[in-house]
């Protein structure tokens, strides 16, 4: 068997479990556009390899197969296809591997990922925070910073994730303060990222290494539980900790708060409520926990599944697709509804789309319904846009070139 592709084994393995029924194609617009099933993606990768003598030829074979490129780069990782697959074949495993090969073959343009290398010093989140003076060193108690020594034995660690920490500093601090009171000060914060954007760009190993570093940080801090805001962060950190045999319990913030009897600080909004289930919430457990934390009774809300449009860095490949997907999701929300998302990046994506194309829908992260502080998206988008033209513009252009 040829092995020009770094992940050839994964394609063989996947192709072996695919019946070629084609049911997955019908569940996904990207697959439909490509006219491919998941098994055909694996087979097309192998076919490209079979007819290539060198890596350059291999890269050319793949690049020339527009359907294959569409199927691999157009994937949101929403798992609609997996859910529809009679064998529940794991699309994420397949596409992450394909993205790795795409990256290694130079088939993902630098502009698609230069600003989301979240394991480096500067990425879009750290740059935004640096420019706008957002920092949390006082909350990262397990590390020594100017003003405080490193503390040990802090049993609970809070993991807000990139989007919340960058775009919701007041909310981040309010959550921390509440948790701090609940843990009697036995709390610290891991100010890092789960690396999902690295995976989307084909840097799977780097994403895993980042989670491993987070895991090491937790161990060094002596944490016994990690509380994540986002289901994706929770899943990735759970995997990293399990892989290293570290016994740190990973919890979703909603569940952690609910267990401690936390009551939302203000009433639920009037009008229809629509819970936007996170793609990362594969078995619906986090959605159930969020529902309980919000005090939502069964039958008093609707659920919409699928990606908000931000997943898989599809916007870097097909700029219009993110807006189209966000519209598709928001269209399920009736007039006057409040859309409640579980992942701050979903909230960001919906907010951006609603700014571009307003409709009578309110967009909230579940934490905004639990706490007083709110995201200020108008300010955030203005600041994000202004970064590139202001005094930091040249520096950003250079860093993310």
């Amino acid at each position: 068997m040829k092995a020009l592709l770094d992940r050839a084994d994964a394609y063989w393995r996947f192709a072996g479990t695919c019946t070629q029924c084609g049911h997955c194609t019908e569940a996904c617009e990207s697959l439909t556009r490509a006219g491919m099933s998941l098994g055909q993606i694996a087979k097309a990768m192998l076919e490209a390899q079979r007819t290539a003598a060198t890596k350059e030829e291999l890269a050319m074979n793949i690049a020339m197969n527009g359907d294959l490129v569409q199927a691999v780069r157009g994937c949101f990782f929403c798992t609609s296809c997996k859910n529809t697959c009679f064998a529940h074949n794991d699309v994420c495993d397949l596409i992450y591997n394909a993205r790795v090969d795409f990256q290694n073959l130079g088939l993902i343009e630098r502009a698609a990922w230069s600003s989301v290398l979240v394991d480096e010093e500067w990425d879009i989140f750290t740059a935004y925070r640096a420019i706008h003076g957002i920092g949390y060193v006082d909350l990262v108690r397990h590390k020594a910073y100017e003003g405080h020594e490193a503390e040990t034995g802090l049993e609970t660690a809070f993991f807000p994730g990139c989007s919340l920490a960058a775009y919701g500093p007041e909310l981040t601090r309010e959550i921390f303060q509440t948790m701090d009171e609940m843990t009697s000060g036995n709390l610290t914060m891991v100010d890092s990222c789960c690396g999902s954007s690295l995976k989307s760009a084909g840097f799977f190993d780097r994403a895993e290494a980042l989670c491993d570093r987070n895991a090491d940080e937790l161990v060094a801090a002596g944490a016994k539980e990690l509380v994540c805001v986002c289901p994706g962060c929770a899943n990735d950190m759970k995997k990293a900790l399990e892989k290293r045999g570290v016994h740190v319990e990973v919890r979703l913030l909603a569940d952690w708060l609910h267990e401690r009897g936390f009551q939302p600080k203000h009433p639920l909004p009037d009008g229809p409520l629509c819970l936007s289930k996170s793609c990362q919430d594969r078995d619906g457990t986090y959605l159930e926990q969020t529902r309980e934390a919000l005090g939502l009774d069964e039958g008093t809300f609707s659920i919409f599944n699928g990606c908000c449009g931000a997943g898989g860095a599809v916007s870097a490949f097909d700029p219009g697709r993110q807006a189209q997907q966000a519209d598709s999701k928001l269209s399920f929300a009736p007039d006057g509804a409040t859309v409640i998302s579980m992942c701050p990046t979903c909230t960001y994506t919906y907010a951006y789309r609603l700014m571009e194309s307003p409709r009578n829908v309110t967009n909230k992260h579940y934490c905004e319904l639990l706490f007083d502080s709110q995201f200020d998206w108008d300010k955030t988008f203005a600041q994000l846009g202004g970064m590139w033209s202001g005094e930091y513009g040249p520096w950003l252009a250079q860093v993310f070139a």
């Binding site: 068997m1 040829k2 050839a8 084994d9 063989w12 393995r13 192709a15 072996g16 479990t17 695919c18 019946t19 070629q20 029924c21 049911h23 997955c24 019908e26 569940a27 996904c28 098994g39 087979k43 192998l46 076919e47 079979r50 798992t79 609609s80 296809c81 997996k82 859910n83 529809t84 009679f86 064998a87 529940h88 074949n89 594969r282 078995d283 619906g284 457990t285 599944n305 699928g306």
Partner: protein, 416 residues
């Protein structure tokens, strides 16, 4: 590795091909010799009904291309069934009289439809569905202008796939099943009832709690089949499909040489009780996560994963080592999904509630979800099985999402 090493694969289907993939992926460079009782390449039994119903072409039923199979470099001995496997002598003999030796052998012979219960000697050979030959015969029968009414005996998944194929061929179709409802061994009554309503809306006749007592062939042009049911009714049909389940035939294995229960009993690496003999797919009785017992889970993906597991284990052993613990077969849960012209049924895990287990049924306008819970020692419950029956088959829709979520919950609870 020695050039004289030979891995024999008896049965060249999903499990066999996946074993070959795993062997080559693990770097095994010796001979792989596969034995097939047919001249056609490995096909997908899942797709045969789609071929009958016109949703797939004949060629589309073969998941592996000639190039892909060539890359696996497998010597295929085809067209003659294996009639002897003698582990003591490491010997395989085909019905053509040829003998082969092996270093390691994987048995993945699949299963064949049984017509037990159908009146034998009535002068009519019923249609069955498993192989491409079966499918070709059924397609020819269903596409004949003389075929206007068909009877499907059985209420299993395969029976329903045949019903769907018949509907897609424009045939008036009825079902008869000995149990009280459709999907007899896979569905809880509430979910089955919704599915039956969907079938009825498509004009499918259903007669449950009965069997075929007698079939009389009425010669003429066209020939008719007069069927007498156990309830006493008599009706005429043009064709009869029998879908009474499948059986594996292990008569070719030297008696007493391999432990066989309902199928060949295997360990975590698909090793049988006989040295250097492995089994995978429908031929293997391996870990079922829900019951924690060894069972036959006759589904495509299980066969593929078991084949891959066997291939990896053999490659490791032939390289002088032992298979890695991480390569052990992790077990599986029984899962089934079937859609008949827009009516959808998904199940996983336990399909019947045993004493002490609780069934919870939720009905919405277009979906029934029935869950089976087992009490835990700490007073909590764990989900061990579910049915989703939906009036709509919308890929990516709520029914599929619900099915996927519940499947994951069962699997996660089992692995804990």
């Amino acid at each position: 590795m020695s050039e004289t090493q030979v891995v024999a694969i008896i049965g060249w289907g999903t499990a066999g091909v996946n074993a070959a993939i795993a062997l080559r992926a693990a770097g095994y460079a010796g001979v792989i010799r596969a034995f097939s009782d047919t001249d056609v390449p490995p096909y997908s039994p899942i797709l045969t009904s789609y071929y009958v119903g016109g949703e797939k072409t004949y060629d589309e039923c073969f998941p592996w291309s000639a190039d892909e199979l060539a890359e696996l470099d497998v010597e295929v001995v085809s067209g003659s069934r294996v009639c002897l496997l003698n582990p003591a002598r490491r010997l395989i003999r085909t019905e053509a009289g040829e003998e082969y030796t092996y270093t390691k052998c994987i048995v993945c012979v699949g299963a064949r439809p049984t017509t037990v219960g159908f009146p034998a000697g009535c002068g009519y050979e019923p249609l069955v569905l498993r192989t491409m030959d079966d499918a070709a015969r059924m397609k020819e029968a269903f596409n004949s202008s003389a075929c206007e009414r068909a009877l499907v005996s059985g209420a299993s998944m395969i029976a329903l796939k045949c019903v769907e194929a018949a509907l897609n061929c424009g045939i008036n179709v009825s079902m008869v099943g000995m149990n009280d409802h459709v999907l007899d061994f896979s569905a809880l009554p509430e979910a089955a009832a919704r599915f039956e309503r969907g079938l009825a809306a498509k004009g499918v006749g259903m007669r449950f709690g009965q069997t075929i007592s007698q079939v009389e062939v009425l010669e003429g042009e066209p020939r008719k089949l007069r069927v007498t049911f156990s309830g006493g009714d008599v009706e005429e049909f043009d064709e009869i499909v029998v879908a009474h389940g499948v059986r594996s035939d292990f008569g070719f294995i030297a008696e007493g040489s391999v432990e066989i229960d309902r199928a060949i009993v295997v360990d975590d690496f698909m090793r049988t009780s006989a040295s250097d003999v492995y089994a995978a797919g429908d031929a293997a009785q391996a870990l079922d996560l829900v019951s924690s017992e060894k069972r036959v889970l006759g589904i495509w993906k299980t066969a593929a994963l078991q084949g891959q597991c066997a291939g990896r284990a053999i490659a490791a052993e032939l390289a002088g080592g032992e298979p890695e613990a991480t390569d052990a077969y992790p077990g599986a849960i029984m899962t089934n999904t079937i859609a008949v012209n827009g009516t959808l049924f998904i199940s996983a895990g336990a399909s019947q509630a045993a004493e002490g287990q609780r069934v919870e049924v939720r009905e919405t306008e277009d979906m029934t979800v029935a869950c089976i819970y087992e009490p835990e020692s700490d007073g909590s419950e764990r989900l061990i099985g579910f049915n989703v029956a939906s009036d709509t088959d919308e890929p990516g829709g709520a029914a599929y999402d619900t099915g996927a979520m519940l499947s994951l919950r069962i699997e996660e609870a089992c692995r804990k």
